[in-house]
């Protein structure tokens, strides 16, 4: 391993391509995961000395070595991104516990580093990652998946675009066979296998500050000490049909009847109103009694749902086709 001991080569930046290569090298160093005691690791996975790489990039000063100066940025990167996911997924953190959660999100960020200018989108691929690597949440992978979907839906509901709600004149005298109704982009419809909504309420009752921290230039604290909560009972296994939405810019989630969920899902897919209602009626248990379809009862329910969804401003004109 003589080459590892060689004097480090300094990296020149005399062109755009050299600047790019320099930035790629730095980024690679910053993305390297920290040790369990929140320090920079001194070797890469391939056994290359990070100390030597740092010496090739960064000047030492009278107090810090090149490696230590690089370490400041390496730690800041990880503290910032981990902190962001701690803020965005408190339910998942409570569910898995701090150690497992940290392991999961570290592995996630290694595979899916941020590709967005905003930390808001940092957790956008966590659901996919959990599907790919369920063992990180074992033995709670199913509940964890429900929780991730639920918590990501809240991020969408917080600031996704709102369209003009539909008005009666938009649909008056329209043929229900052809009439299509859209849904607000911020409305998420989730079919879950666990009562993660009730679990999250319990988590937030334990500790909720309701505020998102501003990003300051430098983050110097490890994301720890956030999990001093008492362990809650796990979410109950049950089928839950949930709408996550906002109203007057406050976040809400609301349980739905299966038929109402089906109807909304179909409308969201662009199914014409009459056909969507047909699919919902098939899903509706109360509409069938002794094999006889109780159309009147369902009609009444439908009216109630539409009145409620209109008052919540969930219904819009369908989005124009591209």
């Amino acid at each position: 391993m003589k080459s590892l001991e060689a004097k480090p080569q300094h990296n020149n930046v005399r062109s755009r391509s050299e600047l790019k290569a320099f930035q790629q090298k730095m980024l690679g160093m910053l993305y390297r995961p920290l040790s369990p005691d929140w320090k920079s690791r001194k070797k890469t996975d391939e056994g290359i000395s990070v100390v030597k790489i740092a010496e090739g990039l960064i000047k030492p000063n009278d107090r810090l070595t090149s490696f230590e100066r690089l370490e400041i940025y390496n730690r800041c990167y990880w503290f910032r991104v981990l902190d962001s996911l701690y803020d965005d997924f408190p339910g998942l953190l409570a569910l898995l516990g701090n150690r497992k959660f940290l392991k999961l999100i570290t592995a996630y960020l290694i595979r899916y580093p941020s590709e967005s200018f905003t930390l808001r989108n940092l957790g956008s691929r966590l659901e996919s990652f959990l599907c790919e690597e369920p063992e990180y949440a074992s033995p709670l992978q199913e509940i964890a998946l429900d929780m991730v979907r639920f918590e990501w839906a809240q991020i969408i509901a917080f600031d996704e675009i709102a369209r003009e709600p539909i008005s009666p004149k938009d649909i008056q005298k329209r043929d229900p066979e052809k009439l299509r109704i859209g849904l607000q982009p911020y409305l998420a419809l989730l079919e879950l296998n666990h009562a993660v909504d009730r679990y999250l309420i319990a988590v937030k009752n334990q500790e909720f500050d309701g505020l998102r921290k501003e990003a300051s230039n430098t983050s110097n604290a490890a994301p720890e000490g956030k999990n001093h909560r008492r362990r809650l009972s796990l979410p109950k296994r049950e089928r839950v049909w949930l709408a996550v939405h906002r109203y007057d810019n406050m976040l809400y989630y609301k349980r739905l009847e299966p038929a109402a969920f089906t109807l909304l899902k179909e409308l969201g897919k662009g199914t014409p109103l009459e056909m969507a209602c047909g699919k919902a009626i098939k899903r509706d248990g109360s509409a069938k009694q002794k094999g006889v379809l109780k159309a009147d009862a369902f009609q009444e329910k439908l009216q109630g749902w539409f009145a409620e969804w209109s008052s919540l401003r969930w219904l819009t004109l369908p989005s124009p086709k591209k």
Binding site: V13, L19, C76, Y77, P113, S216, N217
Partner: protein, 287 residues
Amino acid sequence: MPANEFNGFTDYGIGIGLRVPHYRHILAEKPLVDWFEIISENFMVEGGRPLEVLDQILEQYRVVQHGVAMYFGSADRLNREHLKRLKRLVKRTKTPWLSDHLCWGSVDGRYTHDLLPMPYTFAAAKVTADRIRQARDYLEVPICVENVSSYAEYHASEMTEWEFLSEVVEAADCGILMDVNNIYVSSENHGFDPYEYLNNIPHHRVGQIHIAGHSKFEKYTLDTHDHPVLDPVWKMYAHLLKKTGPTATLLEWDDSIPSFEEVHREALKANLFHKAKTPAASSGATR
């Protein structure tokens, strides 16, 4: 030079950063504040509470946009989607100028969400200046670039930080957002004289100033924005004002944020220094 082409020929005084813990107080009490600085990226969303609050603020106050993710120093091409969103926000806020940092933080579409120092080379200055010009031409608003605090210096650098800053802003023909606290922090970390920095930048390009608090650790000083401005920074601020004249100034307080009144009181201390001499009267002043 309070009003210049780099701050849209405005004559703003002392502003403070608009932060979430103060929303309720500001909207309810409507305190007298000359202007608010917003973090652009917090409002580059499609809807919801951030934009609702912003619109209410805009009804009452003057707002200037400050970005943290343009990364003028990145070697990549400018992100058109980012620019489009930013332009939508510029139209909404009617910001007279817009600022972001002289740094890099992303490459190949991957982000660090940090403000990383540049290698101070002529090639890097050219790339950076080109990106600033392109952004300004697209956004149609004056741009001021802010010096960042740093904890590392690169072997690749061919000049000092203030020479690099001057090189970039002259080539881009843009303004400077001079963060006095960042100069102090970097001077402590790299062992240079902060007044040499302050004396050797194109003062006529300073469109805005930032002040903030920092924290000293055993081996380095960190730009923490979590407490009042410290004396050495106030002294540097006073020195800079002698060179630039009264200039729009913003106090940054981003962590351990106290009450609105406390932040505002701290910011208004800057007024004491705005009675400093005009640049013409102080042109012979030395440290």
